[in-house]
Symmetry: D2
Subunit: 187 residues, 4 copies
């Protein structure tokens, strides 16, 4: 079994819903199994037993929700010390408003989570432009869906964003499957 | 006179047009004067005699156009060595497609230009959310306007993006005016 | 009085000490007054009544300590909605290890905090290369000091890093003083 | 054969030397073959026929050398349009000074190159902390070696940096080998 941990912080349920769709995408890959967790409930065991890890957050002032950051500081820092997650696969997703129509901080939000995976020595899976749904709702660093309009009015997630998210989950599962059990990194 | 240098690289004229609008914004501030230059034509004199400097670029694969980068490598590197631009004011702008509706790399593009200004010890002027036009077309790091739709079809610049750009120019001129001639930095 | 709020999160006292030195730097500027706060104790009042705001954090997996992020999510998000801090001055600092001798994530850590200030429409003060102490201990986005060696052994802060930090505080106070009370931003 | 393209821009030969060492690391992996190119000489064929691509640059004002950027704008932009490189493997490296002892812009330099690979839908290989040489010379986003001291005096590359670089090349070759020929991405 290729285990993909999908972690989210969610304020109004949008990021949680996107996490569920990504988990459903993981399930479409034969031999892959998603594990879905709110950030506050993630255990060291969850991280250590996964082949791939996906973190998702609403965009909050251009970076990840503090609950994701608390998880990173609490659990990932120690795993960095011990090189515990080297060679696993990492990916990210986010939800945010359409205020400004330029991502409103989505790019650095995704990157602030990816930086944790890079530090941990994990192989990073971006969102290819060829992903269905991407043209309407996506960013190179990961899946993204608008959850509020340009005036910050909640509008729910877009279908296109959810289609891309579903594929993102499947992509990560396939890459994790391909790399699983291989000794890729020196050291 | 408070001199604001507005530098652009442009492929199809959109970023040039945005630069012209920013320059027009500078002109609305009493005592401020814009100097407009294509990246290839900027001289050391242009940079050294300005109180504020604004760089703009189309979004190209998540970073600035190579012509802006060549200017930075050719002229700004040496000025960094000599601390020639410390205390001046810097700001940025970009144009890009609506592909993905999440900025499609605009954030790191703006940041790749701002990093040059930070290295040079320049005070950075962002684009406040309160700027007219921002809700329809803007990003925290600087002015941004869509120039192509989600399918990459050229659509010209949006009115909102140009309104925000005009204010961006005026904002930079006012900050440069306020800081001009003051000894702000130790060293 | 020009009020500069200096906020820190600290694990072993290094970032707190650096905050104290920055606050002492603020005090060297006539008419400037520092307010020193641990992240958990910052009030809305603290932010709203300051002319300049400086955030500092240890480098944790390439981004800010979760306590700084919690403060941002809890207080700054709402102030973004109301444009409450537009035109104030922002700056950052960090402490981290010498592991890798390449900053070990300091750059994105500083940037993750600056992004909050950019979103809030605040003018950003970098650390100029000409700052005393910078050559031994500094980064363009803000003050930085090593607090552990390349093997992660604690070594305390460097003298050079503290010298640069002190100047950073004074620089921010001078820029805040110069911009205070002026209407700089349209909107 | 797993083909790994190693591309560099170099001013004084340091980044070229690092590229050669990375290429030598690729050669240590059975079935892997490096192709070494200066940025100005890279052809579309070079990119299209590779299984993995590694870009390296000196740190220039916090971003990549303009010659790397010109290559990206000239060749990679069109390949992004056609999804030509989706699923290939990407990685980066840099050389820079020890000025400030905090990477002096190395992190965003590496990231400005990685952003291109993310846009292209390429799987990204970071530099794990467990890599030999990393503690003395490395960064999470890729291999890094100091080429000048804190006073900007040239000192050549460090042995540790070259050891890490060699392993980086081998790591990338192994990941590319593992992913080669697999259909990983939807679309």
């Amino acid at each position: 079994m290729t285990r993909i941990l999908v972690v989210y912080a969610s304020d109004y349920g949008n990021t949680k819903k996107m996490a569920e769709v990504i988990a459903a995408g993981v399930e479409t890959v034969p031999g892959a199994e998603p594990v879905l967790r709110a950030a506050e409930t993630v255990s060291a065991e969850d991280l250590l037993t996964s082949d791939g890890i996906i973190f998702g957050s609403p965009v909050h002032m251009g970076s990840m929700d503090w609950r994701i950051k608390k998880l990173i500081d609490s659990l990932c820092g120690g795993m960095w010390m011990k090189n515990s997650l080297v060679g696993k696969v990492g990916a990210v997703f986010a939800t945010g408003s359409g205020h400004g129509h330029a991502g409103s901080g989505a790019e650095l939000t995704l990157l602030s989570m990816l930086n944790n995976f890079a530090e941990l020595g994990m192989v990073i899976v971006p969102l290819p432009k060829s992903t269905p749904g991407y043209a309407q709702s996506g960013l190179q660093w990961g899946a993204w869906s608008q959850s509020a309009d340009e005036n910050l009015k909640p509008i729910g997630l877009s279908d296109a964003g959810l289609v891309a998210a579903r594929h993102h989950g499947a992509n990560v599962a396939r890459v994790a499957e391909a790399l699983k059990g291989k000794t890729l990194f020196a050291g």
